[in-house]
């Protein structure tokens, strides 16, 4: 909509387009760093809306929220204020895969986030559809953003723009044969921006995602389902939340299952599912968004889990987790009513699939800035991801880097060995993806080091350097770090003799008696023993907080594994630290295979590690590239004497 008449002009530092989970984080980060920021939304009521599942966190997504919090993001704090049930998942497995998930009161979540935005200094909320993004060629021949324009004609001149359009761009909702041109939850779609983006050189593509139905809770029979309680002792998401404040009365969720009857109805109506037909290709087995997909892919499974989750405290609506679908509503009704407890269900909002414009994130640097357009950043579902947490994490990084860009400071890049956020962004910008990217535990190579329990130890420093974490918060982490180190050290150097007290203690814990003296740390490595248990034979131990004790336990118990993983990281860093000059001409790298050359030219990786992860670039190509770099490096060195 370039012919839109300019009606008024405002001058700001940053424009954030979209007020979903990514947009909120981006806007808050910029404003908190002192930059005049405007956040645009098509509807103020839809700020931080959860148009799909009513929860935050979950396997590996919980990690993202903890990391985001460590960096100074808002999502963790907001869910701590508004959750109605919380659970640490996978506690029977190793600490690497423990993950926090909380049910949110959706309305409350939105309201609290909106309040935080409204009260944030330097931040303005503006309702309006952004139609144009302006970029001009600078003196250096590169493109720079100059501002945005909204549908009423108002122009906001700025130095940086963060695009967080989520699923709104040219959105189309599909429910069987019924198709509407709306955004999620029937909201207005953004229909003008795509054209403007293409005009300035952004390449767009289309992705689809879906959501299940919401039921009238009064029509469900919970006696046929298994009740799912929250944890007795709730762990908050945010490192800044006082754990005492989150010990609330929790609501229950409910577990039920599909059955053969359900599957039969789905199979018989597959031809009426717009999202299903022909789309299975390219979707991995681990990622199954719709019940149609599950039934087809896991044909041998006679049932699938269905979680019935409350949408909030002030509504009857219940979310049917695990049963998203794009089948027509009449089929949905039949299908849902085969599930035990849902026999008489009434659908308040039907399940639907949504189609929207987004980008292939390989157009971005790991800073989430467009490679070809200075000052244009992007985060969230617009980058081809899926999920609130993935969106928020990117929004925060994009926002921070927009601010760093304006302030002329070093950008924030988290690498794969530092956080799930690093894995998420690196995957998005270097790997090819043909479906919305969802964070999964398996995507992280170094997950024993990237635990949800140590996100503060890993990332507070970065948050502090960026300016979103206060000195006091950072000092707290430094102290914690020191206490952990000292205590681990003490345990490793405190020897325990094979005396009667010790042997009696060990016998009482069904642990083998000692043959010779050993350190407390060695005893702690026994699966049946823990730090807490050893207090009996370790009376002189210092008084430590629970969070420190947790870390001590993990660090001592899994010491060998942690050390081996650290070695893996060292290997990774070696190649990750080999920078590729920005002006490299791949045409001059003789022996690259054509495919590798094209891919490298397209992605323009910033280091060799990143280059090695691009699909289509083989280890042999990397060797060739390394030879070339060494040649250039050596030549320069020689010239410089």
């Amino acid at each position: 909509m370039s012919e839109l008449k300019k009606t008024y002009t405002e001058k700001v530092d940053v424009c954030v387009v979209g007020a979903g989970h990514a947009g909120c984080e981006a806007a808050l980060a910029c404003a908190r760093l002192g930059l005049e920021t405007v956040i645009f939304t098509v509807s103020v009521e839809s700020i931080a809306l959860m148009p799909c599942n009513p929860n935050v966190g979950g396997s590996s997504k919980g990690h993202l929220v903890r990391e985001l919090d460590a960096l100074g993001g808002e999502m963790g704090k907001n869910i701590d204020k508004t959750f109605i049930q919380s659970k640490m998942l996978n506690v029977s497995k190793g600490p690497a895969v423990h993950s926090l998930r909380a049910q949110a009161d959706k309305q409350n979540y939105t309201r609290e986030m909106r309040r935080t935005l409204e009260n944030q200094e330097h931040l303005t909320i503006k309702q309006g559809e952004v139609c144009n993004i302006f970029a001009e060629e600078g003196e250096d021949g590169k493109k720079y953003v100059t501002g945005v324009q909204i549908a009423t004609g108002g122009v906001y001149e700025c130095k940086a723009i963060v695009l967080c359009t989520g699923t709104y761009l040219n959105a189309r909702c599909l429910c069987g044969e019924n198709i509407t041109h709306t955004g999620p939850n029937g909201l207005m779609a953004a229909t003008h921006l795509s054209e403007s983006l293409e005009k300035i050189g952004v390449e767009l593509r289309r992705f689809k995602t879906g959501t299940p139905a919401r039921m009238d809770g009064r029509t469900l029979d919970y006696s046929k389902m298994e009740e799912q309680f929250g944890d007795k002792k709730v762990v908050p998401f945010s490192f800044s939340t006082n754990p005492d404040d989150v010990q609330i009365d929790q609501v229950s969720c409910w577990l039920t299952y599909t059955n053969e009857k359900t599957h039969e109805i789905i199979r018989n109506n597959l031809d009426r599912s717009p999202i299903y037909a022909g789309v299975i290709e390219g979707t991995g087995p681990r990622y199954c968004p719709s019940i149609e997909d599950k039934v087809v892919k896991f044909a041998d499974k006679d049932r699938h889990q269905i979680f019935i989750e409350p949408e909030g405290l002030y509504t009857n609506e219940m979310y049917v987790g695990g049963m998203s679908s794009s089948l027509p509503e009449d089929v949905q009704l039949k299908m849902y009513r085969t599930v035990p407890g849902l026999e008489h269900c009434k659908i308040v909002r039907n399940a639907y699939a949504i189609e929207y414009d987004c980008i292939d994130a390989n157009q971005l640097y790991a800073t989430l800035e467009f490679k070809k357009i200075n000052g244009l950043f992007a985060g969230g579902q617009f980058n081809g991801s899926s999920g609130y947490e993935e969106a928020a994490a990117q929004g925060l990084v994009a926002g921070i880097n927009a601010a760093m860009h304006i302030l002329g400071k070093e950008p924030l890049v988290i690498d794969r060995s530092e956080g799930y956020i690093g894995v998420l962004i690196d995957d998005l910008v270097t790997k090819e993806s043909f479906e919305p990217y969802r964070m999964m535990t398996s995507r992280s190579e170094y997950r024993l080091l990237l635990r949800q329990d140590n996100a503060d130890l890993r990332l507070r420093k970065k948050g502090y350097e960026v300016g979103l974490i206060t000195k006091e918060q950072y000092d707290h982490v430094l102290l914690k770090e020191q206490q952990i180190k000292e205590e681990v050290d003490r345990l490793q150097h405190t020897m325990i003799g094979a005396n009667k007290t010790v042997q009696d203690f060990l016998t009482s814990k069904e642990s083998a008696p000692l043959k010779t003296a050993c350190s407390l740390a060695e005893l702690m490595c026994r699966p049946e023993l823990s730090y807490e248990m050893l207090s009996e034979i370790d009376p002189d131990r210092p008084v430590l907080s629970e969070e420190v004790i947790d870390q001590v336990n993990i660090n001592v118990k899994y010491d060998g594994y942690i050390k081996r993983q650290i070695k893996q990281v060292e290997q990774f860093k070696k190649i990750e630290n080999k920078k590729i000059p920005k002006d490299i001409d791949y045409e001059k790298v003789n022996s690259l295979r054509i495919e590798a050359r094209q891919k490298l030219e397209k992605y323009r990786p910033v280091n060799v590690g990143q280059a090695s992860r691009i699909s289509g670039v083989s280890p042999a190509d990397i060797s060739v590239l390394l030879i070339y770099l060494e040649q250039v490096y050596y030549a320069k060195e020689k010239k410089n004497g």
Partner: protein, 471 residues
């Protein structure tokens, strides 16, 4: 910058065999680095036992012996080239060994024991390059050579990759990555993929790959490289003409005959070279009947030999009817490639080709039938042609016995083995499944280094793997 480079580069002393493996005569072990002289001092003794090489001037040559402790390893000539006047610009020592490949390897091992580290492929050139021995234009020339040859080199290494070691390593990696992927997908999707009983299953896989790794490491230690070739076992009842067949096969003018002690005392192996293809014939004791029973020892030996063989020559005396021992032999041939030799002598022929075909029509192995006569010397050339044909068409390979010949490979295998042992320990300790993948991945990566599938190594190491060792 130059200073930085120096501190960055490791300055340890490296050693490797610098001569081509195929050349028979002199083997060269090259040592380079600051400690090259102290290393050679530890292992070298002159005739008078008085000479100390580190006191000798550069570019001199010295006669003497290499000693591993009190054991004399080889009689050698030692060349001294002191820094900076050597290829690497470091202290360099070359040991010319005279005892053939095995002894050269032993000399290298002795040098390694004395404090040198095994050189990575191309490491001498890497040092020459980094120490400025090769200047920019020369370096570029070398790079161009690498570049221009990379296509061919790639193909050559691909051939190696399809070869025995890589095939084996790839199989091991496939099996490991399958388990890694399984654990990962179970973590991602616990609803659909269960880990119940999985540790026991994984334990079996790990045990199998441990055995594979150990076996390959073992082959290196045994220096089996010399025995590379097609293993052919000759089976048959006694007196069917096996021995005369072997003699005829070995009696060719162009055949080089060497005796190599076999792995079992009762089997003698003979090495022949047909048109450049090495063939190792193993003559088995013969399967005979004692009383009504087929002698078990003979069967066991033949079975063992047959298992190790790439090809089996099954000799039948055409003048006698087939007996139950023949059925026993046919049983041994299961899953093997075989050539059935219908050997005629002066007596009347009672077994025909069609009878053999009838007998073997349900056989689980591939075979061909040839008629031969040792007395009239016919069919021998057909047999040789058939063996070569089978080899050239890839129906038999000399890859059955996979051997490791490269120190670097051995190191990587040892690392992989150690990682697998850690996986075993994790299983025994009842660790949660997600802990297994750390060491499984390490094993997978270590194996990947052998076949160049892991990109993780040092820049320079990566770069110069494209060079051949020693140059």
């Amino acid at each position: 910058m130059d200073h930085e480079r120096k501190t960055m580069e490791k300055k340890d002393t490296i050693a490797a065999i610098a001569s081509a493996k195929s050349s028979a005569g002199i083997g060269i072990v090259r040592i380079s680095g600051e400690d090259a002289l102290s290393v050679i001092d530890k292992v070298y003794r002159s005739t008078s036992k008085k000479k100390v090489l580190s006191k000798e001037p550069t570019h001199t040559i010295h006669y003497g012996f290499i000693y591993d402790g009190e054991e004399c390893v080889d009689e050698v000539m030692v060349l001294l080239m002191l820094a900076p006047n050597s290829y690497t610009k470091e202290n360099t020592v070359e040991i010319d060994c005279h005892g053939g490949m095995l002894v050269t390897k032993k000399v290298l091992e002795t040098v390694l024991k004395a404090g040198a580290r095994i050189a990575e492929p191309g490491e001498f050139t890497k040092r020459a390059f980094l120490n400025g021995r090769i200047d920019l234009s020369e370096a570029e020339a070398v790079m161009d050579v690498i570049n221009s040859e990379s296509e061919a080199a790639l193909q050559a290494s691909m051939k190696q990759l399809q070869g025995s070691v890589s095939k084996k390593i790839s199989e091991m990696r496939d099996s490991l990555i399958y388990e890694i992927a399984f654990i990962e997908s179970a973590l991602d999707d616990p609803e659909h993929i269960s880990l119940d009983g999985y540790p026991e299953k994984l334990s079996k896989v790990v045990n199998k790959e441990l055995a594979n790794a150990n076996y390959l490491i073992h082959t290196f230690d045994n220096g089996k490289i010399i025995r590379e070739g097609i293993h052919v076992a000759i089976l048959g009842k006694p007196n069917v003409g096996k021995s005369s067949l072997l003699n005829k096969l070995l009696g060719e003018d162009k055949a080089i005959v060497t005796d190599i002690a076999g792995t079992t005392r009762d089997v003698i192996e003979q090495y022949v070279n047909y048109n450049g293809v090495g063939i190792i014939f193993a003559d088995t004791a013969g399967i005979r009947e004692t009383g009504d029973k087929v002698e078990q020892i003979g069967v066991d030996l033949a079975t063992k030999k047959a298992e190790e063989a790439d090809l089996i020559l099954y000799v039948i005396d055409a003048s006698k009817h087939l007996e139950k021992e023949d059925l026993q032999i046919i049983d041994i041939l299961k899953n093997k490639r075989a050539i059935v030799l219908l050997n005629k002598n002066d007596l009347d022929t009672v077994v025909t080709v069609s009878e053999i075909n009838e007998l073997l029509k349900d056989a689980s192995f591939e075979y061909s039938v040839l008629e031969t006569s040792m007395t009239e010397e016919f069919g021998l050339e057909d047999l040789q042609d058939e063996i070569l044909h089978l080899f050239h068409t890839g129906q038999i390979t000399n890859n059955e016995e996979v051997t490791i010949t490269n120190e670097r490979h051995k190191e990587a295998l040892t690392e992989a083995r150690d990682s697998l042992l850690l996986v075993q320990k994790s299983i025994e300790d009842n660790m949660p499944e997600d802990f297994f993948s750390i060491d499984l991945m390490n094993a997978y990566t270590s194996l990947g280094r052998i076949i160049g599938a892991s990109v993780e190594d040092d820049l320079v190491r990566e770069i110069f793997t494209k060079f051949c060792l020693g140059k």
